[in-house]
Subunit: 235 residues, 2 copies
DNA sequence: CGAAAGCAAGAGCACTGCTCTCTTTGGTCA
DNA sequence: TGACCAAAGAGAGCAGTGCTCTTGCTTTCG
């Protein structure tokens, strides 16, 4: 079904063309933006007529999905690579490494970042069965940090249940699904830190801060990281 | 220049048409999204041929600008109205009111929220001279809260300069331009809270959290507000 | 009253996503 | 080797888009 057979020359050529489409699509995504991503333009750059591209990609939306998965993979790889260079017991360092790696990737690939974490593309819904897997890699790494820190007793947060009770139940369900021992407050603070991290990144990538109010935006990001570390009780 | 003369019937008709265009544009923005906003479709709904709309709006980008300004104004009004119902001395309450009002507006107008705080529309740059004014109302209110709280001695943050020195200088410049007495750390935490708030909102509005993992997302937002209050030292 | 300005309409250009048909090419198998 | 079939590419075509230009008509004002 996947036509992943690389034995025949034809299959290899097809795979190469698929890679070219994604590569050119990423280029257009970076220069034109997601909404202006044009299958016809990709076809031109590929030296093909527009209808021929439909032999490889069913629709513009499927091209977007390919780029979404590609982006999640690249980001996930970058985060994993950064985490390998950090001491496992340094929980704040792991959190900072995730943040810095994500920021570096986001600044290098703002268009893909916008595609993954910005406003949803109108009329396009990422198919869950293909994107949730790669899409949850980063938050998964974050959860690992908090869980490890909690089990190591390095988290300065109490384990009292949060109010209202339905909220505590929801958090309990999340805890159960992910197999965590972290208490309500840490799960909630973890969700906060996750959202806050991407809020900081979106502001920077999308230029929500003034244009040149800061000499080096990295300084502000480091301050943000300190606030994040504190928010999850890793101070 | 603005043709705001309401004396002649023609000017009044023109103004009415402009309002209709913004109203219909907002409707399309809500249902189709910013990137799919079509001047031709607006013209159809208006009962005009597409070229006639260009008598009123110079381009699609200018229509976007109208909607941007309209959105900032509406959000600013909502925040101001919410703040009127809060005791001035209740700094955490003011912060929470700003957050809740912004959230309510964002959930009611997700497309406009995406236009203002989501990924930038490719090829469109909001003209600073028309959007910075209304666009800074909310963050201005936030800054007021922190400044008032600092002057009232209600902020639990030290006033040591932050590192590196260039970052402290940048923060000093911001402090001077806004006429603040808040120290480095509070300014930095304020920026963090600002970005974090919109990160939480973007995750909720754009559906970055799982679809139905929470009984009532407002519970999580209240937890986020508590974290924000703590982050700026208003605990 | 007549000139000037404003308004609407329509045609047209270049672009988009996508479908359809047609022809060529490549791989397989008798 | 030759036949056959599926994959790949080409091209035309449909409906939509932003935007420009010209052509008339109407309102306003000197």
């Amino acid at each position: 079904m996947d036509a992943m057979d690389t034995s025949t020359p034809r299959a290899r050529a097809r795979e190469q063309t698929m890679r070219d489409i994604v590569r050119i699509g990423r280029g257009h995504l970076a220069t034109e933006g997601a909404a202006a991503l044009s299958l016809r333009a990709v076809a031109r750059d590929l030296g093909l007529v527009s209808s021929a591209v439909y032999r490889y990609v069913a629709s513009r939306d499927e091209l977007l999905t390919l780029l979404v998965v590609d982006g999640y993979d690249e980001l996930g790889d970058a985060v994993d690579a950064a985490l390998e260079r950090v001491d496992t017991a340094d929980f704040a360092g792991r959190l900072a490494a995730i943040g810095r790696a994500t920021r570096a990737w986001a600044l290098a690939e703002p268009a893909t970042y916008a595609l993954l974490f910005g406003s949803p593309v109108p009329g396009y819904e990422a198919p869950a069965e293909r994107t949730t897997g790669p899409g949850t890699r980063v938050v998964g790494r974050l959860v690992e940090v908090w869980e490890d820190a909690w089990q190591a007793g390095a988290v300065d947060l109490d384990d009292a249940p949060l109010t209202p009770r339905r909220f505590s139940r929801d958090l309990g369900r999340i805890r159960r699904e992910l197999g965590l021992s972290a208490p309500d407050r840490l799960v909630a603070r973890g969700l906060f830190a996750w959202a806050a991290l991407f809020g900081c990144l979106s502001f920077e990538v999308f230029g929500q801060y003034g244009a040149d109010t800061l000499t080096d935006p990295a300084d502000l990001f480091e301050a943000h990281l300190a606030a994040l570390v504190e928010a999850v009780g890793l101070a």
